[in-house]
């Protein structure tokens, strides 16, 4: 994708072309994009798993984020699948890293601005970090809804 363009243009423009450097993804985005953490799925039928699915199919970004929570409310595993731009993939990859090990209340406090700052997202890409925050919130909500139902049943 972008890095192909970059490698093609570099010989022409030189390695430090300021005009082009603005268009590049930050190295942290590239890292998550090339080595995404926690890609995959958890069994959404399990009561201990919360699934968040957000995005707009019409405009192309869809993000699925799942969490697995233990009996103490601690998130022991997280997985994601994202169809979208490099920033959307990096934001969701980072989100799974951050929620792991947190309890569900702490995870709900992760803000899009923290994700954007960590990845140095440019203004136009802040929406991607918001999608990741929404995905975490949706997964937590799904987990809570499931477990309230379960509590009523018992």
């Amino acid at each position: 994708m972008l890095r192909n363009v970059q490698s093609k243009l570099r010989p022409i423009l030189g390695p430090n072309s300021p005009a082009l450097s603005q268009a590049f993804y930050h190295k942290k985005v590239i890292d998550h994009y090339e080595n995404p953490r926690n890609v995959g799925s958890l069994d959404k039928k399990k009561t201990s798993v919360g699934t968040g699915l957000v995005g707009a199919p019409a405009c192309g970004d869809v993000m699925k984020l799942q969490i697995e929570v233990d009996a103490n409310g601690k998130i022991v595993d997280a997985k994601f699948k994202t169809f979208g731009c490099g920033s959307a993939i990096a934001s969701s990859s980072l989100a799974t890293e951050w929620v792991k090990g947190k309890n569900i209340n702490e995870a709900g406090e992760i803000k899009n601005s923290d994700i954007a700052k960590e990845l140095s997202l440019p203004p136009v890409k802040l929406h991607c970090s918001m999608l990741a925050e929404d995905a975490i919130k949706a997964a937590l909500k799904d987990y809570k809804t499931k477990n309230e139902k379960e509590a009523v049943r018992n």
Binding site: V54, A56, P57, A58, C59, K64, I89, V124, H127, D134
Partner: protein, 145 residues
């Protein structure tokens, strides 16, 4: 990297009411009307930002750029950059603010409204640009406010 169709099929089965991105409030807004209204809105905002009154030494890096449905307003390093753009597939206008982050606006009752708190795009811009310029600025005379 991932199969587009499998994720998209999955999302179809989600409860659509809980998903704010699958906006349902704008179904009565035709593509044609959305196109016209959003163009007029952004044209009018671009003009207002170009006519914004301040001493040139206050914001030496100030820059307004409007192309292909994307309005970019740079206040310089200390204050950051606003991006306001058309998002045609959802019939929305998206805002990225250096002060308050990202928001998605729907066209409701002839204004651009953020559904979470019913706030209006132009009110937010008036408030934030007033903060940056340290004097009252209003976008209330723009179209669709």
């Amino acid at each position: 990297m991932f199969s587009r169709s499998s994720l998209f099929n999955e999302i179809k089965y989600q409860s659509q009411n809980s998903n704010r991105y699958l906006s349902s409030g704008n179904e009565q807004l035709s593509d044609l009307k959305y196109g016209k209204v959003s163009d007029v809105t952004l044209d009018s905002l671009a003009e207002a930002f170009e006519l914004l009154d301040f001493q040139s030494n206050e914001f030496p890096e100030y820059d307004v750029e409007y192309a292909n449905g994307v309005l970019t307003v740079k206040f310089g390093h200390a204050h950051g950059t606003y991006v306001i753009n058309k998002q045609s597939p959802n019939k929305q206008i998206w805002l990225s603010s250096p002060l308050s982050g990202p928001k998605r606006y729907d066209f409701l009752d002839n204004r651009w409204i953020y559904k979470h708190d019913s706030s209006c795009l132009h009110d937010l811009l008036s408030k934030e640009i007033s903060e940056i310029l340290k004097r009252p600025v209003s976008f209330g005379d723009c179209d669709y406010t």
